[in-house]
């Protein structure tokens, strides 16, 4: 801003905005960008190598079922069904209120999800 006269005479000049006070050579900036790109690539490769969606099971007081790892567009391959005293298992659901059912043999997984067990009380004889 030492020659403010020139600035006033010329067209409005960019002040640099967020980078106005950055004092860095282009070479240093190149190194910085390269390091960040390398970080991004390394992290992405690592994450893609350790891929898999986690499907968790909430049985609402029933027997515990371990969460499983599933790949994209695969079906859930679980044969185990939970048990709960006094109730009959009615299937897995995507929501806690048990309105959207999930067919473990047909429905494919496209995200990490939690499945909720549906229960029906056994009628006392």
């Amino acid at each position: 801003m030492e020659n403010g006269k020139n600035i006033a005479e010329n067209k409005p000049r960019k002040t640099g905005g967020l980078y106005a006070k950055v004092n860095m050579s282009v070479k240093a900036a190149n190194i910085m960008v390269t390091v960040f790109i390398a970080l991004l690539i390394v992290a992405t490769v690592f994450i893609v190598k350790h891929n898999g969606f986690t499907v968790k099971f909430e049985t609402d007081g029933g027997s515990h079922i371990d969460s499983v790892k599933v790949m994209h567009s695969e079906t859930l391959d679980i044969k185990e069904t939970p048990v709960k005293e006094g109730y009959v298992f009615t299937g897995w659901y995507l929501d806690r209120d048990c309105t959207v059912s999930f067919d473990t043999e047909k429905d494919t997984v496209t995200d990490s999800i939690t499945l909720y067990a549906g229960w029906k009380a056994v009628e006392s004889q």
């Binding site: 960019k14 640099g16 905005g17 960008v33 970080l39 992405t44 969606f53 496209t110 995200d111």
Partner: protein, 361 residues
């Protein structure tokens, strides 16, 4: 050969050598500029090629329609934030603002007779009234942001950080109204979900939702505002040099306020669309939406230097980012892990943006 001739030849040779070395350095510099400035695009294109080879379903019609729909859903919020970045600021209250407006829209448009209705005695409110209401709510939050930034010269980061928390508190309180007790809002009225998610047309048996059209309309409106109105020109002038803009008669205060009000209105519209799109709104709706939007803007060439940016750039930025996210989903990348990649993408995009500024200086 005379001595003079030899001297002359030497000088010419030196000049040629000088020219050669100089042009070589310039050439190298031009190449490195080209590579560095477009590094993000190069990485994204390579990633797309890799994913397409690994998972051919990535390029199926349904996948491409999915990418376009997601782009349309995330576009309005990015168009709003773009204005704040042109002013060298940012807006981190955007995501929570979308969350609040989505919850308001969903609560007013639950179907009659639904068991867990937040307002049990409320008939279905007309769509236009709800749309206007959420735009107004967004605009008010935007006005608060803009007022504090313009009047007290506080950095937008600080102002919007505080409004982000305030708005989140409002969302939590709003969800406690009646007997709702903070639960997810669902059971939306059919008129609402049809208006947003209804089929616009089908390609190869895959339905394109209506909100794609709304997004295109909003983009067109924003293009006109940015490029054809006095307000748009003032916004770029204030963004590139606030003092110079003030000297040349631009009303800096109202320009800044209006940029944030416009952004807030965009968040309101995003919230309205998002409410029906995800069909179950909770306090988590809209979480971190602003980070995707900021990343998309910077990738699309809206610079933190200020006064630089194009609507087309924002569209491309949002689109590229959604391609990557959908692609990583096809590679079975856990959404938790995706946050790490998103963070690094922002870091890379902003460092490239800064490098561009330093190279031009």
């Amino acid at each position: 050969m005379s001595v003079e001739n030899i001297k002359r030849k030497g000088r010419i040779n030196a000049a040629i050598d000088d020219f050669k070395s100089k042009s070589g350095a310039d050439k190298r510099r031009a190449i490195s500029d080209l590579l560095f400035n477009n590094a993000m695009y190069i990485i994204i294109v390579l990633a797309i090629i890799y994913i397409a080879i690994q998972v051919p379903a990535f390029l199926s019609v349904s996948s491409i329609v999915n990418i376009i729909s997601l782009t349309a859903a995330k576009l309005p919020i990015a168009l709003g934030i773009g204005g704040a970045i042109v002013l060298t600021g940012t807006d981190i209250s955007a995501g929570r603002c979308v969350g609040l407006t989505a919850c308001i829209a969903a609560s007013l448009l639950q179907m009659t007779g639904y068991a867990n209705k937040i307002f049990p005695n409320l008939a279905v409110v007309p769509l236009w009234a709800v749309l206007l209401a959420v735009i107004a709510v967004g605009a008010v939050i935007g006005f608060v942001n803009g007022f504090f930034v313009a009047k007290f010269k506080l950095h937008p980061f600080i102002v919007t950080l505080s409004t982000q928390l305030i708005v989140f508190g409002l969302v939590l309180m709003y969800l406690m109204i009646g007997g709702n007790n903070g639960q997810t809002l669902s059971g939306l009225d059919k008129s609402y979900t049809d208006f947003v998610r209804g089929t616009l047309f089908t390609i190869g048996g895959v339905a394109v939702p209506k909100y794609v059209l709304y997004s295109i309309i909003l983009t067109a409106i924003m293009w006109v505002i940015w490029n054809k109105t006095k307000f748009g020109k003032n916004m770029f002038a204030v963004g590139s040099n606030e003092e110079a803009a003030n000297v040349s008669g631009v009303n800096v205060f109202w320009t800044i306020v209006l940029v944030f009000v416009l952004a807030g209105a965009m968040y309101g519209i995003t919230g309205f669309i998002e409410g029906a799109r995800i069909a179950s709104c909770s306090a988590n709706t809209g979480l971190n939406y602003e980070s995707d939007a900021i990343a998309a803007c910077v990738i699309g060439g809206v610079s933190f230097v200020g006064g630089t940016g194009k609507i087309s750039g924002i569209v491309i930025g949002v689109f590229l980012l959604q391609i990557i996210f959908v692609g990583l989903n096809f590679l079975s990348v856990d959404p938790n892990m995706l946050y790490v990649i998103k963070g690094l993408i922002i870091l890379v995009a902003c460092s490239i943006d800064m490098r561009k500024y330093l190279a031009r200086k």
